[in-house]
Symmetry: C2
Subunit: 346 residues, 2 copies
């Protein structure tokens, strides 16, 4: 069996002021990490310790992909674990860098330490660095604390030490579900999912509502019963049915991109009154909010931009039974595109 290796996971937002909020955040984050690994069928064991989470896995590459999509993670580092006695640290440091040097590189050892040890952090950095210098003397390497090419980081905690060479940025934000529940209105417009993503990043658990603008399937069924519908109207109906199907397909494709971030997300199809276009009307919002209220949501989230909202008179008329959040209201097209790329939503 391959030995499981730890990944050090860092988390926390400036906003986490109270101990109570922090605890809730940590609990939710751990449960989300466990869920995500379960879904990816990667075995893991999660340990919380002093403001860090250690995820033990054997499939490191797979695990990194999973952690990359868990809101609330600031950064993470696949690590190697060993005992914290001086000789082991030296030996381990040397072994880990076996493939890091080709000739002439600069390097640095950066040590953080908690617990009682026979050495200080600075001393540990010095003796590990010296061991590396000696071991790879033939590679002509040198120490550069300011701008090293290779950085070996060491976190020493009591009797254990964790070595790592890289730190990968996480998606930041708050753990999904650490805040209230909201309902997103699913749209055919590609940028709209960024709105839902932004609110999920704030910690809200999000489900989606798809507004079936016309219940054409039903009309289509009826058609068979009634011969008078056969001419002309029948063809028009079929065309509208195609458009409606295409629209729904597009909206569901958008939802799939969101599902990368929120795999348990539900999508509810609800019928609304006939209404032709892709923009939401006051009636659409009213239907959506009634449904969202029944499902216990606190607010609706809609992905309309400033320009879309100010078109014609729709700006004046968006009153529903609950607040409608428009997270894209301050974004330009360029900013949306950049954010969507960063969030893997394209």
């Amino acid at each position: 069996m391959v030995q499981m290796r730890p990944i050090i996971v860092r988390y926390g937002e400036i906003g986490l002021k109270s101990e109570f909020v922090r605890r809730k955040f940590e609990k939710k984050l751990i449960s989300n990490i466990e869920d995500a690994f379960l879904r990816a069928r990667i075995e893991c064991s999660v340990v919380r310790e002093h403001g860090r989470i250690f995820v033990y896995v054997d499939d490191i590459d797979g695990a990194c992909k999973v952690l990359n999509k868990v809101f609330g993670i600031v950064s993470f580092s696949p690590a190697f674990e060993c005992s914290s006695d001086k000789e082991t640290l030296k030996k381990f440091g040397v072994e880990l860098l076996a493939n890091s040097f080709s000739g002439g590189e600069s390097f640095a050892v950066r040590v953080k330490r908690t617990g009682k040890h026979e050495y200080t952090s600075q001393e540990a950095g010095a003796f590990i660095g010296e061991a590396i210098l000696n071991a790879y003397a033939d590679k002509n390497i040198h120490v550069d604390l300011k701008e090293p090419k290779v950085v070996l980081s060491v976190e020493i905690r009591e009797k254990r030490a964790y070595f790592y060479l890289e730190t990968i940025e996480g998606p930041l934000g708050m753990p999904l579900g650490s805040q209230g529940k909201v309902m997103g209105i699913l749209s055919t417009k590609e940028h709209s999912i960024l709105a839902h993503w932004l609110i999920m990043k704030r910690g809200c658990s999000l489900d989606l509502i798809y507004l079936e603008k016309e219940n054409l399937e039903k009309e289509n069924d009826k058609k068979g019963d009634d011969e008078t519908l056969d001419t002309g109207l029948g063809n028009g109906l079929e065309k509208r049915l195609d458009v409606a199907k295409e629209r729904k397909k597009k909206a569901y494709e958008n939802a799939e991109k969101l599902r990368r971030w929120n795999p348990n997300m539900k999508i509810y199809d609800i019928e609304v009154k006939l209404g032709g276009d892709e923009n939401f009307t006051k009636e659409d919002y009213a239907c959506a909010s009634e449904f969202a209220f029944k499902k216990g949501a606190l607010a609706l989230v809609s992905g309309e931009t400033f320009e879309e909202l100010t078109e014609k008179d729709r700006f004046e008329d968006n009153v529903a039974d609950m607040p409608i959040l428009f997270p894209l209201i301050g974004f330009s097209d360029e900013e949306m595109e950049k954010r969507m790329k960063d969030a893997d939503l394209l």
Copy 2:
């Protein structure tokens, strides 16, 4: 008299699709640039030509500071203007780089051209580059088209040519006032002005409402007339008066930071019912929206964050007579801080 030099101003958003919208955008942008220079007491003359604006000024440094705060500008370059005949281009290119080389630098000449000339863009780049190479042969310089240290850009338009060495990023967005009018609610919270800034960047003209939470000045005046108020209560009132003054001072300091971007912004003080804290209540919104409606605004803008809005039950209760926009709803503390720094709002 110092000769006026042109600054090339680039503008335009992806969103500008129709000719009509583009014209409106340009007209508003030019008028905003002229206003900004007028206020800064810098003489200028503005010319629009082929999707560029040329601002002629003698105080280049002062002008750059002004252009940096005009929404809708993508970038700008202080330039030098000359005639577009071959000999002048060569002479001008050489003269402009008199202080650019100390020894061993790489450089490139980049030419854009419109109009009829005896040379192509590529040829112009070649002969200007050659003249520079010859003129500074003692400085051991060389041409590097990929990663040059010094870039000389040349825009040739008919009989004129514009040389520049740097391109400064503008604030992007849409020209202030090219979209509808909105009312921001002024708050004591520092981050709140970012919400107003984001909406101004979308092109809205914005004025501010300050909610006087308790009309204590009046109460204070009354106190003198009524001896019974003298003991205890009098002191309490003074203390509350101090708090109210402090709050107003802080809010107005926030507004001053916005004024860097929107110098004509008005601030309206309106009285609302007694209410102790810094968060806005349903009644506050109702008062503000009534006032905003009278002033012809389309929407209110409030700088509350997701966390502030979801506190207690305020989330459920933000219905006013007009839409309330919360542009910060999808932002984290870190993102707000970064954006505020970039926008010079700290």
